[in-house]
């Protein structure tokens, strides 16, 4: 019995990436929208580009589709330098943020459009259109015009139009942005399911981190034209490599400090905001006096009225704010220094031990293994 291999071609140094960006820069006039991006995406991946508005995600995608030419650097698809290949000859298809369905054509004609360009025989086009409309569950709408469809239905047609071409790579620019939350969540799963079935590599742009987390094999976090980190959702959340990524993904408590000592995979850091030194697991080497930031996620901390046990990092303060969310409660603890810490507490019991409440002095504690040292 062979064990099921996890899908992680990026860990295999011998694997050839399907898409490769080689120090790609894009300038509009004297404004640099994308700067020196290196990126490798592998066959079968669901890769997300995540970043705030205006950080260059769409520009990156449009360079891949061929609508923009890089100012510097090269892009390879399947080993071929596509810098000089026009969009209509690239083996990629893009699903536009606005869907860009042809308003003067029916759903069927829209989906058939790309196939007709390839000179596919009529009978085969018909079958293919039926198949992809089936796949996106739009069979009953073949005769309608785009304006007779709802937003979600249009999105499906746009997807079908791309899928029909069986591209090597499907590019999706905020495909779900126009949908309401419920439909969006449902469609997220559907998209992943479809990607699984057709086996096409997806590259998706989004600024919704929840979306990126649930759908992607890997995420590239972008900021002001740079890719700050590339990794699996777990990597990005648990092991951000910079303050920016730690702060951008999820909630994070960050304490600035200086290294005072270390050894044995552990550092001691003096954090003025916490009032005393803390211990952090760290595998690298940092000299005493080095400035660092210690990051701890709210759910990796405990809040309690009792003094924590020996070996834990801790600090104390008063409750500045709290919110009961059902499964968890969120506490904002204000320290002596004025610094605020966010802590999540899972509501494990119906009753019994009284949770910390307003006016309580509380201790916030966390294990050295659950903190992360950031040097950037």
């Amino acid at each position: 019995m062979s064990e099921r291999q996890p899908f992680a071609p990026w860990t295999d140094p011998g694997a050839d990436p399907l898409i490769r960006f080689d120090r790609v820069t894009k300038r509009f006039g004297d404004f640099t929208a994308v700067e020196a991006v290196d990126l490798a995406i592998y066959q079968g991946e669901f890769f997300s580009l995540l970043g705030a508005s205006g950080c260059g995600k769409t520009t990156l995608l449009r360079m891949l589709a061929g609508f923009e030419t890089p100012s510097e650097g090269r892009i390879f698809i399947d080993g071929v330098d596509v810098s000089a290949v026009p969009p209509y000859e690239r083996p990629v298809n893009m699903m536009f943020q606005s869907y860009a369905l042809f308003p003067h054509m029916s759903v069927e004609q829209n989906v058939a459009f790309g196939l007709r360009q390839d000179g596919m025989p009529k009978a085969r086009i018909k079958d293919k259109v039926r198949d992809v409309l089936d796949l996106v569950r739009m069979t009953g709408f073949a005769g309608r015009r785009p304006h007779q469809l709802s937003g979600g239905q249009r999105q499906r047609v746009a997807l079908a139009r791309c899928l029909a071409k069986e591209p090597k790579v499907l590019l999706l620019d905020e495909p779900l942005a126009a949908l309401d939350r419920k439909l969006r969540e449902q469609t997220q799963l559907e998209l992943v399911g479809i990607q699984d079935r057709v086996g096409i590599t997806f590259v998706m742009v989004t600024h919704d981190q929840g979306e990126a987390m649930t759908m992607s094999s890997r995420i590239g976090v972008m900021n002001t034209g740079h890719i700050r980190q590339i990794g699996t959702p777990v990597d990005i959340y648990e092991y951000p490599t910079s303050r920016f990524v730690a702060d951008f993904i999820g909630a994070a408590n960050m304490f600035d400090g200086t290294v005072t000592g270390g050894g044995d995979g552990r550092l001691t850091v003096a954090c003025p905001e916490l009032g005393h030194d803390i211990a952090v697991d760290y595998s690298g080497a940092l000299a005493a006096g080095a400035p660092v930031t210690v990051m701890v996620r709210p759910e990796k901390m405990a809040v309690s009225r009792e003094r924590p046990v020996e070996g834990m990092n801790w600090t104390e303060g008063g409750i500045a704010d709290m919110a009961y969310l059902g499964d968890v409660s969120v506490y904002h603890v204000r320290l002596e220094s004025g610094h605020k810490i966010e802590v999540l507490r899972t509501n494990l019991r119906h009753s019994g031990d009284r949770p910390p409440d307003w006016d309580d002095r509380v201790f916030v504690s966390w294990h050295p293994a659950n903190a992360l040292v950031l040097t950037r």
Partner: protein
Amino acid sequence: MSRFRRLGRFLVALPPYAWLVVFFLIPCLIVFKISLSEAQQGIPPYLPLVDWAAEAGTRLRVNLGNYGYLFGDELYAAAYLGSLRLAGISTLCCLLIGYPAAYAIARAPGAWRHSLLLLVALPFWTSFLIRVYAWIGILKTEGLLNGLLLWLGIITEPLQILQTNLAVVIGMVYSYLPFMVLPLYANLEKMDLSLLEAAADLGCRPFRAFLAVTLPLSVPGIIAGSVLVFVPAVGEFVIPDLLGGPDTLMIGKVLWAEFFDNRDWPVASAVAVAMLVLLVAPVMVFQHIQHKRAEATR
């Protein structure tokens, strides 16, 4: 509140409607009335439609003979057809010249567009009549065009262009080109360019994308421009009168002749009414299509 609103709305809508009634609808009705009366020597040169003075009481004297006359004399049918033909040719030429022009302006860099549009509208700064007169200077046998062609050695004898239908078409294309370019520009400019990107993305080359996407989506602009050129061109009088020759048969000239040379107001009015009916039909077809389009792309 709502009463005030309705009053306000009424007051705002009143002036344009009043204008249309006084200067458009009433004159039309007067022309229509005259077209039904009988000609006479005197002032006015037609008999009243309603005879009040007769002892037998008020009598309505409707004379359909003027319209019958239009059918009777081949001149009118020939003039109508001549007008339609020359207007049609002019419209087609305007479309062939105007579409690329409008397309180029719509796709020009943003800063250029306004200047280019201004250039299209620039001729309106000068009087229409003067511009048509200027064409006489260009087209006549010893005019600028013939001078240039002779000087270049392309021709040895001056060409007779003035006083031909060709001159009329040139004049009309020149005069009405802006009316083709502007609606086409408005249409092409608001087109969603991501549709062309989508077409390219799906494997469509630029020229095919133009045929498959841009052209069908610009049909409302083509229709609007064509109507704006065709309708006034059919009834055009000044251009055929100044640039055309004896064999230029257009309804505008016939109308003029009936009115001023023959002083037959009723027949002239009948010609005008017939022309109106002939032109209103295509306009209504156009509006119907526009309406359906608007509904389809909403």
